[in-house]
Every structure is written in C-alpha cells, then in structure tokens.
C-alpha cells in the first residue's frame, strides 16, 4: 500500500543539493536589509539622526526600548547566518578557498553585529539546528566571540587566492565573478572588517592591541580598502532583487512619522556640510530639526513644527546598502594613529575619511571644507568620532556601537529622556529566547550580571 509514496514526500519545488556559491548574494542582501531596517528604526532614533513624532512604542529617542524590539535583529541575523554557515560547509567540502574566505567574512560581519547589540550570544553552539538538532545553544562570552571572529578573519585573509575569480555564480557585492579585482576587494573587506573588530576590543585586550600593530605594519599581508570604490556596499540597481528595501515603504513610515533631529542638523549645518542636502529636506528654505528627547507634553508642539524630514530620495537611493565603507577604515586608521598604533598622521586619515564619505555620497566637498570651523582637525578623538558618526549614516547600527565604545559624538539629553538619561548599552535578549532557551538564557544573564539595557558588555566603555 505504500508504493511510490516516498517519492511523493519530497518537495517538488525544493532543491536538496547546493554549492558554495548558492547562498552568497541572498545572504548579503538579507544582512544589508536587516541592518538598514534597524538603522532607520532604532539607530537613527537613539543616535539623534531622527526623532519620532509619534507616541506609542517608537519613543526610542527617550531611551525607551520595548522588549519586542529585541527580536528583529536576532531572528533575521541568525536565519541569514544559517545560509552563510551552509556556504562555509559547502566551500570546505568543495575545496573552494575563496568561497570559504568570503563565508568566514560574512559570518564575522553578522556575528559581530549580533554580539555588539546583545553582548554574550550563542556562537559556538549556534546554527546547529539541523542535522544535530541543537535547539538550545549555550551562550558564549562576547570576548570569546570576538577572539574567534578575529581568528576567523585572519584565516580568511590567508585563504584568498586573488588570482582567481569566483566561479560558482555572480557576486553582487564586488563583481569577483567577473574580475580578480573583485577578489582582492573581498580580501580588503575581510581585513578592514578585522580592523573594525580589533579596534572595538582594543581598549580591553592587549592581544588585540598587538594584532592591530601587526596588521597595520604589514599592509601587503593585510591589505585594506584604499578608495571609496572599494567600500563593501551593496549597490542597489533597483532591479529585483537588488531593490533598496525602503522602495516600497510608505512615505509616512519612512519620513512622515519622524523628523530629522535638531542635533544632527545643527552638527552638519555648523560647517554647512553638503551631505545634509542629500539626507534632509528643508522647510521654508531652511533646515528645522526637532530636539530629541522632548517630553510627552511637548508632543503637540513638536508635531506643529514644520520640520525637516529625511530626504525621500533615500528610499530609492542606489548607495544606501553600506556594510563597511572606505571612510570608516580611514577613521579607524586615524584613531589608531592617534592612539599610537602607527606613525601615520591622524589628520591625514581623518581628512581622507571625510573625503571618502563625500565621494561615496557623491557630494562635492567644498575646497575650504577641511579648514572650516569644527571640521579643521584639532587632534581630538571626539572630532574623529563625530566625523565618523556622520560617515556611518544609515550603516546598520554602527553609529550606536561606536558611541557605546567611545561616548562620541556628545549627544544632548532632552528633558523627556528616561532611563536616567543614559544611552542604552544593549538590547535585552528577545522574548523568544527567554522562553525557548531559558536555561541557557539564565546562565548567560548570570554571566553578564543582568539582562538589562544598561548592562555593559565586554568592550563598552
């Protein structure tokens, strides 16, 4: 009675065999889109790029983070990571070193973002739901996650064969399927990401400090991004599937329910930054920001102000898909130089960073820009970090991460701000984790101290 039944139990639309190249672009796009979504919703509000004009559960500018905010990054990144993990396994099985290197890089990108949001996270036991059926993974300390990611990126750097193109499908990020230039760019991305992670743990780990020195002293072995073109940024072509994820977002949800913040506008207008024109709208010929952290009572008044909004063009911008820009590398190098890891001129990298960001956004840098008050290099980390903050516009939650690390830029605190006026240092673990992985969650909380938005993680200042 069961003849032919087994064949029927296989999905006619499914594919059971994959290659190392089967997942790459999908995983990158998902990672970028996930980052952009929260950049818009959370990062921009916490970091005073925008200010919500509505009450309810979007008052992040008052440092109110409802528990339900925690799910999105966690679920999306982990699900994307499954594809990346499959890519790594297939690359190993198929002996495809370039794919393996790329896989490790993408894995480091998303895992680093995860731990930077939550602190300790499932890492070594993660992504083993199939075939091992590990559905209750243990949590690893942030420090250990970082160490392993740094090591993985080191391995990835040595794996690249930059004389070879990718052969198992297209490469939407760097075009390494068409030219070995792309392969080299991957390698530079790997190292640039490694530098980002090393700098993040720099203050806490002598080992990291040593590795920064080693890395920056051997640029041939550890090539970094050197121009805006080499930025790891997914170019939206606006042809499916490479659509800017805000393309079909309602205007109201993109820029109607929030205004550009007073801080953001003041900061950029101080030196008449041309990037502001690309990012914000004017009302009656001028920029009008809304102060972040206004009180509930001030709500009606804020709503009555005809305020600047995010430029609607950003919804369909081809260049919003930033992972790691050349500008960030220059600011990392400026900071490294400032802290004495190299003998480079911090000013030089600082200025290159500004130029790289201008170039990336297609803004014309005024010739006197670098001498304008506030821009002209003054040798402080605060200034480097403030320019870096601008360059990290819409780059997932990097602005927040860098603020948590350095405390820069210095953000004003409004009267309506809760949480004792303190910037949240992390998101609480998702409700789903609390319920579905309770025992390990409890251990992780015990390890960290508390599952609270003010709990500091390993590298936070």
């Amino acid at each position: 009675c069961t003849e032919g039944m087994e064949e029927l139990n296989h999905d006619p639309e499914g594919v059971s065999s994959a290659t190392a190249g089967s997942f790459m672009n999908t995983a990158i796009l998902e990672g970028v889109n996930t980052g952009l979504n929260r950049s818009h919703r959370l990062n921009n509000e916490l970091m005073q790029v925008t200010v919500s004009l509505t009450e309810g559960n979007t008052v992040f500018h008052r440092y109110v983070l409802f528990p339900s905010e925690s799910d999105y990054m966690w679920s999306n990144y982990y699900l994307s990571l499954t594809n990346i993990e499959d890519m790594i396994q297939k690359a190993k099985a198929m002996s495809q070193p370039n794919y393996l290197a790329i896989g490790l890089t993408l894995k480091a990108w998303l895992f680093a973002n995860l731990t930077d949001i939550y602190g300790d996270i499932p890492y070594s036991q993660a992504l083993k739901g199939y075939p091992n059926y590990v559905v209750n993974p243990t949590f690893d300390k942030q420090e250990d996650v970082y160490k392993d990611l740094i090591a993985k990126l080191d391995t990835a750097n040595t794996l690249y064969d930059v004389t070879k193109t990718l052969t198992l499908g297209q490469d939407a990020l760097f075009g390494a399927d068409k030219s070995t230039v792309g392969t080299l760019r991957w390698k530079k991305f790997t190292n640039s990401l490694r530098l980002r992670l090393l700098m993040r743990g720099e203050a806490k780990s002598p080992a990291f400090q040593a590795q920064i020195k080693t890395m920056l002293s051997s640029p041939d072995k550890y090539p970094l991004m050197q121009s805006a073109d080499e930025s790891a940024a997914l170019k939206f072509t606006q042809v499916t599937p490479l659509l800017n994820p805000f393309t079909s977002t309602r205007d109201y949800d993109f820029n109607g329910a929030n205004a550009v913040s007073e801080f953001f506008i003041k900061t950029l207008s101080t030196w008449s930054d041309p990037r502001l024109d690309l990012w914000a709208t004017k009302t009656s010929g001028k920029y009008t920001g809304i102060p972040s952290g206004y009180t509930i009572a001030e709500g009606p008044a804020m709503n009555a102000i005809s305020s600047s909004k995010l430029n609607k063009n950003l919804k369909t911008s081809l260049i919003l898909g930033t992972i790691l820009q050349h500008a960030e590398v220059e600011f990392l190098l400026a900071e490294a130089a400032l802290k004495g890891y190299t003998t480079d001129s911090p000013k030089d990298h600082y200025e290159k960073g500004i130029a790289a960001s201008m170039k990336y956004w297609g803004a014309t840098q005024p010739t006197d820009f670098l001498t304008r008050s506030g821009v002209a290099y003054n040798g402080t980390l605060q200034q480097i970090m403030t320019q870096k903050y601008i360059a990290l516009f819409f780059n997932d939650m990097q602005q927040w991460f860098e603020y948590k690390r350095t405390g820069y830029p210095v953000l004003p605190v409004g009267k309506g701000v809760e949480n004792n006026g303190k910037m949240p240092m992390r998101l609480k673990y998702p409700l789903s984790t609390q319920s579905l992985n309770r025992a390990n969650y409890d251990k992780a909380v015990a390890q960290m101290g508390a599952d609270d938005i003010n709990t500091k993680t390993w590298w936070t200042k």
């Binding site: 594919v15 059971s16 089967s22 966690w74 990571l81 984790t433 992985n437």
Partner: protein
C-alpha cells in the same frame, strides 16, 4: 335522492389526462347507469360496455368531491367486478373482471391512531395488483379482492404505511399512525452509507435543504448558524463571507487547520484557499477573501445536510475526520413525482449596514486642543489638514480656511467657511448591496432512471461600490437501475465564480476600512471626487488631506482584485448485487478547482507608487476512488448483521504560481508585459496520497440494540516510511429503550447511545519534512536554507474521543430532546513549534501537544400547537457548550502562538493549562485590589508583561427557532445567541487613539482624572487625583494599540438571525394553472444585533493570508442585515 355534479374543465386527449380529470359525484342510491351518464356529461368521456355488464338494479351510493376520474371509477367499480380501461377517442371500456366469480369486497373505516379521527383520501391497494381504492370523506373504504388471503396496503402522506392481511374478513377497521420519523428515518452517514437513525450510536443532526434556501445566505454555510448544536462558525466579512467551520471546539493548535470535513456527495472538498496577502495590519499586502470550493456551492442544489459531530461518526472518512464532518447531499430527481418536472427558485435580497461604531462629530481634525484649522499654511497658521486625528477645534460654526473655501485665481483663499461636521461622511460611502439569484431545475423520472439538471445564476453587488461577484452553477444527477442487479449513480456540479473586484481586507492602505478609520469629521466625502487630479488621470490621485490615505474611490474603482474560479465536484458510483445480500459498490469522485486571479494598483498609490500588477494561477485537485463490499448475513429476524470491507485511494494535488510586476511602465495597463522589470515568479506545488483499507460490522438485535464496529488503516505519503501506516478503530452502541421495554404512554421514543473512536491524522498536504530542502533564494539561481528543521521521525497525530447521548420523544412526539456529552483529546499534533533562532532555524516540525475538548450539546423540540384550526407552532432550541484546555505542549515555552497581530502587540495563544485561543497583550497595571494604576502625571500605566485577557471561545451558544403555520402561511424566527468569548478590536483602538469615537469626548480639553490609584512618595497606593492634561496622550495610553486590555471586549451577542414569512399558494388555486406548487416568502437575515461590542459586529475574525483567525478584529467591514424575497414554483 339528490344527484349533484360539479363542473370541471375537461380537455381530453391522453388516457392519463382523461383519468386525471376531476369529477365530483354525489350519488345516493342512484342507478349505476345514471351515475355513469352524469360522469360522461362532466368529462366528455364515453363508457363502452356490454349491456349485460350493468343491471338497472345496481344502485350506487358514492360521493367524491373534485377527485380524479380514476379514483372515482376505482371507487365505483372496485366492488362490482368491473375493470375499466381507456381505449382512445374518449372511450372508456368496461369489462367484467376476470375471476369475477371469486370476487368479494372488503370494506371498513380508516382512522388516525392517535386522534381517532376519520382519515379521508387514504390509498388502499391490494398488494401485488394494480387494484386500488381511496377512502371517502368519512374514512370509509371499499375494495374488491379476488383472493381472500390477499394483503391490503394502506398508505397516506404523513402516516406510516400499513399492510393488513385480509384473512377472509370482509370488514376491517384500520388505524394509521403518524409517521414515526425517528424510528425509520434514514440519514446519510460516513462514506454515503444510509443508515436508520435509530441504529446510530453517535450524534448527528440533519437539516433539509430548506435550511439554507428559505432565508438564503450567499455562502450557504453561514445559513447554518444557530441550526446545529455544537457547530461554530468563525466568519470573515466581505462579499464572499468565508467561514471556518468547527464542530465541538478547536482542538488543533493551528488556525490554518481545516476544521470540520465537508463532504459533497461523498467527495471531500477543499475548504481552504490559497491566500495572497499576509498581515491584515499594515503588512506587505492586504489579504483578500477569494472564497473556496465551499463558498461556491449553490444552496439551491442542496437536498440535505447531515452533520456528523464527532470523530466516531466520521471515523470512516479517515485522517481528516477527527473534527467531525458535514455531509452535503445535492439534489436528485425525486422518485415520487414521475415524469417531467420543472421547478424555479428565485430570490432577491438587499444588504444594509446594521451597526456602526459610535463616531463623534463634535470635534474636527487637529492635534490636541488645537484651536484653529487651516487647509495648508495660511495667515491662520501652519496647515493642519494632514493630521489624522480629530482632537482639533470644536464645531461651533466658527470660520476657517478649508478645502472648499473660495479661492482666487492664484489658488489663494479669499474667504473662510464655517467649521462643521459631515455626519454621513463614512456611511455614505457604502451602498445597498443587492443579490439576485435564479435557479431552474428539470427532473425526469422514469421507472428505471431519474435525471435532474439544474442551472443557477447568482449575482451580488456588495455594500462597497464596485465590489461583488457572480456565480453560475450547473448540476447534473442521474440514478439508473441498469439491470436487476446493477444500479449506477452520477452527480456532477460545476461552478464558475467570478468577480471584477473583491475588496482588500484589514487595516492597510489598500483597504477601505483604513480610509474609514482615517476619515475626519470635518471632511466631506465628496471632496474625494474625482479621484484623479484633473489632467493627471492615471498618474496622480486626489488625496487632499494626507498622502497616507489613498482616495477611497480610487481604491474601489482602480485598485482591483479580480478572480475567476472554475470548480467541478462530482462522483460516479455503481452498485452490483453479486449474490443475495452481497453488494459491491465502486465509486470515484473528484473535486477540482482552477482559479485565475489578478491584483492591480494604479500609479501613485501609497503602497505602489509605480503601479502594480500580479496574477496567480491556483489549481487544486482531490480525487477519491473507493470500493465497498457489503454483505448482509441471511439471518432470522432477531439478528441483523452487515459486514463491509472497503478501500480508498486519495490523491491531492495543489499548484500555485504567482507572477509579480510590482512596477509598471504605462499607466492603466495591467499585464505582465507592462512590467518595468522582469516579472518575479513564485511557484508552489504539492502532492499527497493516502491509501486506505477499512472494514466495519453493523450488528442489530431485535431492532432495538445496535452495535457498530469500524476499523481503518491509512498509509500516507506525508509521513516517513517507518511511521506512515496507522490504524484506528471506532465502536458505537445504540439501544432503543422504548422498543426494549414497555414505556408509559406519554413516552413515544427513548434511546441511549455511546461511542468511542480513535482517529489518526497524517501531515497536511505540502508538509515536506524528511530532509533539508533548500528554497529558491532571493537571487536567480540562488538558494536559501529553510527556516524549519526537518524531522524524519514524524508520526501521525491522534484524536481519541468518547461520547454518550440520549434521545427522547414524549406526548406523541410533541416534545423531543436530544442530548450529548463528549470528551475529545487530541495528542501528538503535527506542528511547527518555534525554536530558538540561534539554532539557525525558526521552527521545528514535531509532534506535540495534548488538547482536550469537553462539551454538551442539546436539542429540544416542541410542538405546542399542532394543526389546531389550521394553526401549528413548532419550536426548536439548540444549545451547546464546549470547554477546551491545553493540557500539555511539551515545548520549552509552554505556549504555541496561534496568531500575532498589530505588530505582535496582540497574540492568540495556546498556553498550557489555558483554553486554546487565549488572548495575550499588555493591559492596565493594577493595584492588588485591581484598580488601574496612574503615573505621577495622571496617565494610566501599562503592564510590563503580556497578561491573559481572556479566551476567544464562547462559553456557550444557543438558538431558539420558532415556526408558526396557519393554513398556507408560515412564519419562522430564529434567534442566535453567543455568550462569552473575547475579541480584540483594532477599530476601537484606532478610533480611540484618533479621538474619533464618543468615548474620547470626556476631558476635552480641560484634562481628565482617571479613576484608580497612584503611588505616593512612600510608594504606597493612594487614589489618583492628578489631572492628566494632555488628553491625546491620555487616550492614547488608554485606547492605544499597546493597550490590548482596553480594546478587548466581550463577544457575546444576540442576533435576530433569520425571520421569514411565507405563503404557499393553495393547490385549489393552482389546479387551474399549469403550476404544481408555488410559494413566496419574504425574509431577513441578521436583522438586529444586540451586543456591547464597540465596532461593527463581534462575530468576526481576521484574515491572514488564508487563515481565518478568531479573536481579532483588524479593520472589519461593516456588518450587514439582509432582507429579501424568494419565490419557488414547480410545474
């Protein structure tokens, strides 16, 4: 010595007609010749006979009023040994009966066994001959017989037929009893097997087709509401009105599970549909109710509906029958009416909105306390026209620059106009819905075959402009007795349902109810016309207030959702009588549907600025082939044993493709060729097969004890090889107590019954679970890991049930009661259980859960007045209660989230120890005494955690149906009651948030002091005395979406579900026409609703893709009352 003759129209051509001519005879001791000649005069016939046949002395005493000639002649000749026959030319030949020498006649009186009244018009015939007679007005009959041992057969409509052996008597009195329907009523049970109701050990409830046609609902299923104890409908709103049907409560931890099995003429039909819109709440796409094969069924074509409430009744249907089954039998030609028959049914009905939320029209658009309004920035201030809420200035006749204020040539305002409300600016958007349905059927009944053809057309214009649908149904049925041993039956129904626009549902730019929620009191609906800006037709819409809301006329006239569906359901079967008592039935049937759908959005719509066109092809097929061998053992009367053995092959197949062009080039052209980019294609296919063998034994003892035992084994393709075979048994017992022992006279019937069943379920179609299968990735040629962890060890789920019931009838059936108690436990449910995302997956397909449902079902029927001076009153009460509880989930969370809505603010969950379908969300923070806690500024505080806000299941449901009959008039009224159950209302939340209902009027704008407590400096609870100054914030915290408690309501209601007044035209009048029957009725559905629910109707649900989710109202359409008239004629 009176002889009177009535007058009757006579037209003689055919023997049948001649003999059917109506004749009146009043003969008191008249000569036969005389009587015959009078009949000749009345009818124009001529009697031809040998002179010796009739003697002058032969006197006749006979009376007949308007009876047909044949009956009259039978009456006159039956005791005279004279046979008559028609020979053409209006001649009736009279001859002496053969064996006339042996003839005797039998006479007597026929009375009603209950009342003792004489029964006129009873047919009396001699068994095995064509001889017949009719009783006269006094119940007297006389019939000639040629055999003293003959058996007389007495039959009369509404009474049980009786056979009486003459045994040499020539006078006998006969008492006929009213038909004891309950004793030999036959019901259609599982697999289409007809059984006597008394032999059933489980609960069933049978409804006539009239239950769904007397006061028709376009979706016939909704007309069952309140008519079956234990039946629960979760309805969606909209023209199609799909509903989820459950019997005896929710047992499956998945609202997308199909609920009760629906079987049409033996073929299970597909009750689900493939959705194309996820998330009714601001999601990517609004869901659309496209209807299913179930909503396609033409109510005109339904002969009867039998509800098999529990698994014991439906176990033979296999895997899907654990939730009970609804067996629908479509019409065949009735064998009673030989020859050609035509009948015609027609109804027309109108739908009107029957309830509205309590909108406020005292304050206009604006933010809190804003004391001015300005359309755009004017000298009065910044523009306030795009504010979505109505917290603005009070309507005091003051003057503002408004949309319709006069302007100069440059468009600058020249004059302010009075600030006033437009109180019809929501209501006027809705129209009166109209439905028109016509059905014609033709039957042809011959001796050995009968055929019925039926054609229906139904057209619905719904209450929303430019929405509705049309349905054409064709039905064919044939039953043939091919030979003495072989009979066949075929039934085919075809439906074509098409719509040029079905409305998008939910709370979303593309839905009308989103617009209605945003409509402000000071906005004239007419300002939205025309819906394109002049000169920018097809490019730019007119939405003069907020770009957020699409123009409602644009939504209904341009944002179209089209559908055309073809569905065929049919079965063919043949029964061959192999030996005496041994029958083989083979049957094959299918349910096949194909649907083409499209959605189009013009340019400049909020969601699709560049326009959109999508199309779907949906194909569903289920086929079943069975054989059934049935053997009735040749035993003495004491025992009746029937054994059966059968097999079934079930195949299901589903194909779905979706092609998406989400940006268009040319405005107003909707096809894939107009796509700006290569259209995206999504595809889904699934197939499944179940092979089954089953056997059953029906054991009967002395017509009062009945035991049925069934067993079935299924082999399903959706389970892994080692677990794909599963067996399940059932046993039922029925004891007819009133037949077993002598009961007091006032007890007419008593029966007890009990049943046990264990039903196994396989996984549903499309559950592929053995190995990791990649889906197509976002990029062409790429793949994506599935989010579900495969499970190669899945096993069947199971439903174990017990039920016990009893049926009683008292006082000659004037009062009857049917009661059932049951308990069902569903274990090992095949479910996608959520897992920690860090595992790399979101869920795992596992067997889990233990859910128990216990309940009581009661049906009470009374007949307080029966035919008293032509008046009858019949009342039926249905009552049912069900309690369900999730006993075990054996997952980490102790909860399964069945539905999440409103950005996960509301969940409907199954938590261990709670009823399945409990609403969770944030609620008011409360003091230990239960008082609401307010913060230091006087605003209510919400809980930190989700709290239990009650469950969606009703405590009980009941209905009272009264039917009154007076002569040819009938009046029926059905009240339907639901007590308990909770429902979350987003409509209420939005109106509250935006200050658009009267509940938000208090405190404008001098603040409000909430009743409750607050903390004093020492952290003690003290009464709240702080006045909250910001009314908007206050009401947002009260009614805002986050406050699920304040927006969750009791879903109890009382509805005047049906009322109908009908008149049947008397046969006397019809006799002069070509009509055989005719009746006309006026009816209403859902005429009045009594409920405290603040939105439209508590009897609603939310559509998510194709899942009907109870307990949540997310932008429901207005509920409607239906009023109509129907006409039924046959000739």
């Amino acid at each position: 010595l009176a002889l009177g003759f009535g007058v009757c129209h006579v037209q003689v051509s055919q023997a049948q007609e001649v003999l059917n001519n109506k004749v009146s005879v009043q003969a008191q001791n008249q000569s036969l010749e005389n009587v015959l000649s009078q009949i000749e005069k009345q009818t124009g016939v001529r009697f031809v006979y040998a002179g010796s046949l009739i003697s002058e002395k032969d006197k006749v005493t006979f009376s007949a009023q308007n009876q047909n000639l044949k009956q009259v002649l039978n009456g006159i000749f039956s005791n005279r040994n004279i046979d008559f026959s028609f020979s053409g030319n209006n001649q009736i030949v009279l001859k002496a009966s053969p064996k006339s020498q042996d003839h005797t006649s039998v006479s007597g009186k026929i009375t009603d066994a209950q009342t003792g009244d004489a029964l006129p018009g009873v047919n009396v015939s001699v068994k095995g001959t064509s001889k017949g007679a009719t009783s006269d007005a006094n119940g007297n009959f006389k019939i000639s017989i040629s055999d003293k041992d003959a058996v007389l057969l007495f039959s009369f409509v509404g009474f049980s037929s009786q056979e009486v052996p003459i045994k040499g008597r020539n006078h006998l009195n006969v008492q006929l009893s009213e038909d004891n329907k309950y004793l030999n009523e036959v019901v259609v049970t599982a697999l289409g097997i007809k059984r006597e109701e008394k032999a059933l050990g489980y609960s069933t409830q049978k409804l006539d087709g009239s239950a769904v046609t007397d006061a028709p609902s376009n979706n016939f299923m909704n007309a069952l509401s309140g008519k079956v104890a234990g039946l629960n409908l979760t309805k969606t709103d909209g023209p199609m009105g799909s509903s989820r049907v459950t019997l005896r409560g929710e047992s499956i931890l998945d609202f997308n599970s199909p609920g009760a099995l629906i079987v049409v003429d033996g073929e299970p039909i597909n009750t689900s549909f493939q959705g194309v819109g996820h998330g009714a709440y601001l999601g990517g796409d609004s869901p659309i109710d496209f209807g299913s094969a179930l909503t396609d069924i033409d109510p005109n074509n339904i002969e009867s509906i039998n509800v098999l409430k529990g698994p014991a009744a439906s176990a033979l249907y296999g895997s899907r029958a654990g939730n009970g089954a609804i067996i629908i039998t479509t019409k065949s030609a009735s064998k009673d009416k030989k020859g050609l028959g035509v009948s015609f049914n027609s109804y027309v009905s109108v739908d009107q909105v029957n309830r509205w939320p309590d909108y406020q029209y005292q304050y206009g658009q604006g933010t809190a306390g804003q004391n001015y309004y300005s359309y755009g920035t004017t000298s009065d201030g910044a523009g306030t026209q795009s504010t979505s809420s109505a917290w603005g200035p009070k309507f005091d006749g003051q003057l503002f620059y408004q949309y319709d204020s006069p302007r100069d040539a440059n468009g600058a305002f020249t004059e302010r106009t009075p600030w006033k409300p437009y109180t019809d600016n929501r209501k006027n958007f809705f129209e009166q819905g109209v439905t028109l349905s016509n059905n014609i059927s033709i039957t042809n009944v011959k001796d050995k075959s009968n055929t019925r053809l039926s054609l229906s057309q139904m057209k619905n214009n719904w209450i929303l402009p430019n929405t509705g649908y049309e349905r054409i149904s064709l039905g064919f049925s044939n039953n043939s007795q091919i030979s003495a041993k072989l009979s066949t039956s075929a039934k085919v129904n075809y439906y074509n349902k098409f719509s040029d626009n079905l409305p998008s549902t939910g709370y979303n730019n593309q839905s009308i109810m989103y617009f209605i929620a945003f409509q402000n009191p000071n906005v004239n609906l007419d300002w939205y016309q025309p819906y394109w800006l002049p000169g920018k037709e097809g490019l730019e819409q007119n939405h003069p207030f907020s770009s957020l809301i699409d123009n409602p006329y644009l939504i209904v006239y341009e944002m179209l959702n089209k559908s055309s569906r073809h569905n065929v359901t049919g079965t063919m079967s043949a029964t061959y009588n192999i030996l005496k008592g041994l029958d083989l039935t083979v049957r094959t049937g299918l349910d096949m549907g194909y649907e083409f759908r499209s959605q189009q959005r013009p340019k400049n719509t909020q969601k699709f600025q560049a326009g959109m066109y999508r199309q779907q092809n949906v194909f569903n097929l289920e086929s079943n082939s069975d054989f059934l061998l049935k053997y009735k053992l040749p035993l003495e009367k004491t025992w009746q044993v029937t054994t059966s053995f059968g097999g079934n092959v079930l195949k299901q197949s589903q194909k779905f493709t979706n092609q998406l062009a989400d940006r268009l080039v040319i405005p107003g052209v909707y096809n894939l060729a107009n796509s700006e980019q290569l259209p995206l294609t999504q595809s889904d296919r699934a197939e499944k097969r179940i092979n089954s063998l089953y056997g059953f034994v029906n054991l009967g003892y002395k017509d009062f004890a009945f035991l049925d035992v069934t067993g079935r084994n299924d082999w399903s393709s959706t389970l892994p090889k080692q677990n794909n075979s599963f067996f399940y048994p059932s046993a039922t017992l029925s004891l007819v107590l009133s037949q077993m022992t002598n009961m007091p006279n006032w007890i007419s019937y008593g029966k007890i019954r009990g049943a046990y069943a264990s039903v196994g379920y396989d996984a549903r179609l499309g559950t592929y679970n053995l190995e990791k299968i990649y889906n197509s990735g976002t990029f062409p040629g790429e793949l994506e890991s599935p989010n579900v962890i495969a499970n190669p060890n899945l096993k069947p789920q199971r439903n174990n049930s017990f039920e016990a019931g009893t049926e009683w009838r008292f006082f000659k059936n004037r009062l009857s009661l049917d009661a059932t108690v049951y308990e069902q436990t569903t274990i090992d449910q095949i479910l996608y259980a959520p897992v920690e995302y860090a595992s790399g997956y979101s869920s795992s397909l596992i067997n889990m859960g233990k859910v128990v449902n216990k309940g009581v079902e009661l049906t009470l029927n009374g007949n307080p007045v029966k035919n008293y001076a032509g008046f009858s009153w019949d009342v039926t009460v249905n009552w049912s209660m069900n309690r369900n509880k999730v006993l075990e989930l054996n997952n980490e969370t102790g909860s399964v989230i069945l539905a999440k809505y409103v950005g996960s603010r509301v969940t409907v969950e199954a938590r261990e120890g709670q009823p399945l379908g409990t609403i969770y969300g944030l609620g008011f923070k409360r003091s230990p005494e239960g008082q609401i806690v307010f913060d230091k500024d006087g605003y209510p505080v919400l809980t930190d955690q989700f709290v239990n806000l009650g469950n969606t299941n009703p405590d009980w449901r009941g209905s009272i149906s009264n039917n009154f009959k007076y002569k040819n008039w009938s009046l029926s009224v059905l009240l339907d009651i639901r007590q308990g159950g909770r429902i979350f209302s987003l409509t209420n939340s939005i109106l509250g948030e935006q200050g658009k209902n009267t509940a938000t009027l208090a405190g404008r704008y001098d603040g409000i002091i909430g009743e409750g407590v607050t903390f004093n400096a020492d952290g003690q609870y003290v009464p709240n005395t702080t006045k909250a100054t910001n009314i908007v914030t206050y009401y947002n915290k009260w009614y805002g979406r986050d406050n699920v408690e304040a927006n969750t309501f009791d879903a109890s209601f009382v509805k005047l579900r049906e009322a109908r007044l009908a008149y049947t035209i008397p046969a006397k009048i019809l006799r002069k026409t070509f009509l055989r029957t005719a009746s006309i009725g006026i009816y209403g559905r859902d005429l009045f609703v009594w409920s405290t629910f603040p939105a439209f109707d508590p009897e609603t649900s939310t559509l998510d893709n194709a899942t009907i989710t109870p307990g949540l109202e997310v932008g429901q359409f207005p509920s409607t009352r239906t009023m109509g008239a129907n006409l039924t004629i046959s000739f």
